[in-house]
Amino acid sequence: MTLLEVDGISVTFDGFRAINSLSLSMGEPELRAIIGPNGAGKTTFMDIVTGKTRPDSGRVVWGEDNRDLIGMSESAIARAGIGRKFQKPTVFEDQTVRENLAMALKARRDPFRVLFRRADNAGRIAELADEISLADHLMRKAGELSHGQKQWLEIGMLLAQEPRLLLVDEPAAGMTPAERGHTADLLKRLAKTRAVIVVEHDMEFVRRLDCKVTVLHEGRVLAEGSLDHVTKNRDVIDVYLGR
């Protein structure tokens, strides 16, 4: 079943074509890796899907009722079920691990409900904290955590949002080999029940994900298929691997 259908999107920044009639389709569940050299349009692609950037043309169609995501606000898209993990861990450093998780928990998000519905789901928070190995740190401020712990907290916040599609930007950056293995396993596990798009530079990490790979180049899809398939592709070798 198709969850996300990106259909011929293009976007130009000051004359530079960052995305050039890009099309891509994601099922649910599915794990997909997007690779490509710098400037291939990976981040711009994520910006468009999450509503941060508005494309000049094309459509982004979502879900069973074929909603067009273009023109929706970032927050509405997030509520529709798209979660985004940034490259740098962005957690709220001035707040405790518990507060960070409580904020991310799936719940109605209009101001008055947030104001009056004060009970949070302590059971679910404890569960999440266990899953990301931060159960002992719930009352610590996120700013005190180590880099790796912050990465885990952000992943926990994404899990709390219960997204149907997860966009993950370079999850392996800055991780130790052990953490990479851990992260690859987690992403594969998450992709059993939802759609996950991983944008990554690191080929070794992509190999571990063992999934369909989309190669972007100059804002277009250059090749698509298994990692072995795309790495044998002549164009891919020319622009990316054979540099």
Binding site: A78, Q95, P111, V114, H147, T176, E179
Partner: protein, 414 residues
């Protein structure tokens, strides 16, 4: 430890901070002490008024702290809402009192005045000073205390709603938003300075200390009454805001302050939350103004000049942003100190041939302390509480990622 996390209460208490109850207790002790001293004649009526006004300023500062210290919107226009609250109540005070005086003076005539004559007489009394005798449209509810009390809430609330909606929707943030709020309060002040604004131009509204219906009550008793009303308003406002900034709402507001874009990707409509904080604080500031001006006795457009809102921000900065009691400390400390210096309380300092007059130099001192606090003590006076309570946490911020001070080396060694 895992056990401890499992036994966390499922429902967090409405207001958690012990500082809230500490503050309320201190406020109660203060109010009772002032009352006792005033009854004994140890402090003058005018000083009771000063203290009552200070409590209103503290309430405005608490609101400012919520919108700036918690939500990160540096509004430099909140005193416009304070002034509007004052004007709203001032219109009723002036109308009702003038009505009383006019009825008295017309009582000697052989025929009782018709309602039209009465209204004309009140009009020429109030607006004679700006060469007019007709009631402008905005005075249509001035004869009703209830409706004008509604205006105290509605006028600042509506202005904040419209202004905030336009500004936040266009994603105006940071210093640009601050400039916009300055422009708002300046435009309002300039408009009110005009004689045909309907609010008596630069004369403003006066005689507000005379409360209709309490003609036979002494100013001493009235001032104590307003002092207590201000104290109760501050207590309720403080409780309200302590409740708002606790729990998930407080979490989201502080998150908006720290990283607005990230909050959007969590699915929160950031603009709605900003608008909520902006409007709620504007309404409370309006109420504070409505309690302040009957004690001040007079309101004119100078009160909402841009500098007034900047003072409000300075108080909060000096007291300590992001903690409600810090705002109270800042507003009380600086405004009382200010009236001491500018009221001639501080002795002039002779410097050889030059005599340093504090009425002139106080602003310089205030400006320097603001700069000093910003540079050397960003937590303000309230930060002292952390030192005393030894609540300082290891300050490990900014460890953002692989390219900036990452802990990769340490983690790899584990």
């Amino acid at each position: 430890m895992t056990d401890a996390t499992m036994t966390l209460p499922h429902r967090t208490p409405p207001v958690r901070q012990t500082s809230t109850f500490g503050f309320l207790a201190a406020l109660a002790v203060f109010a009772v002490t002032v009352t006792v001293l005033a009854e004994q004649g140890a402090i003058s009526t005018s000083f009771v008024k000063t203290l009552g006004k200070t409590l209103c300023l503290c309430l405005a500062a608490v609101a400012m702290d919520v919108v700036w210290g918690y939500t990160g919107i540096l509004s430099l226009g909140h005193m416009a809402f304070f002034g509007l609250g004052g004007y709203a109540i001032g219109m009723w005070l002036m109308y009702a009192r003038t009505e009383g005086l006019v009825v008295q003076s017309l009582a000697s005539q052989p025929l009782p005045p018709t309602p039209g004559e009465l209204r004309d007489a009140i009009g020429s009394q109030i607006f004679g000073v700006v060469g007019s005798s007709d009631f402008p449209l905005i005075w249509m509810f001035a004869d009703s205390l209830f409706l004008q009390l509604m205006m105290v809430v509605l006028v600042p609330g509506m202005l904040a709603l419209v202004f905030g909606w336009l500004a936040f929707r266009s994603r105006v943030t940071g210093v640009y938003l601050s400039i916009l709020t300055q422009a708002m309060t300046l435009a309002l002040a300039l408009y009110l300075f005009q004689n045909d604004s309907g609010l008596r131009g630069n004369n403003g509204l006066s005689g507000l200390q005379n409360i209709p219906g309490f003609e036979n009550t002494s100013q001493a008793a009235l001032s104590l009454g307003f002092f207590w009303a201000s104290a109760v308003a501050l207590a309720l406002g403080y409780l309200l805001f302590a409740w708002v900034v606790s729990g998930r709402m407080g979490s989201v507001l502080r998150a908006v302050r720290d990283d607005e874009a990230r909050v959007r990707f969590l699915g929160y409509h950031v603009e709605s939350f900003k608008l909520f904080a902006f409007v709620l604080t504007a309404v409370v500031t309006g109420i504070a103004g409505a309690l302040y001006y009957p004690q001040a006795g007079i309101i004119n457009p100078n009160e909402i000049a841009p500098i007034a809102s900047i003072y409000l921000a300075v108080w909060v900065a000096i007291g300590g942003r992001g903690r409600l009691y810090g705002a109270v400390i800042g507003a009380a400390f600086v405004s009382l100190l200010s009236s001491w210096f500018t009221g001639g309380g501080a002795p002039a300092i002779a410097l050889g041939g030059y005599s340093l007059q504090w009425t002139d130099w106080w602003l310089v001192l205030l400006g320097l302390s603001f700069v000093a606090v910003t540079l050397f003590a960003p937590k303000g006076i309230g930060g002292l509480v952390d030192l005393i309570a030894d609540r300082r946490r290891p300050d490990r911020q900014g460890d953002y990622g692989p390219d900036k001070g990452a802990k990769r080396a340490e983690e790899g060694a584990e």
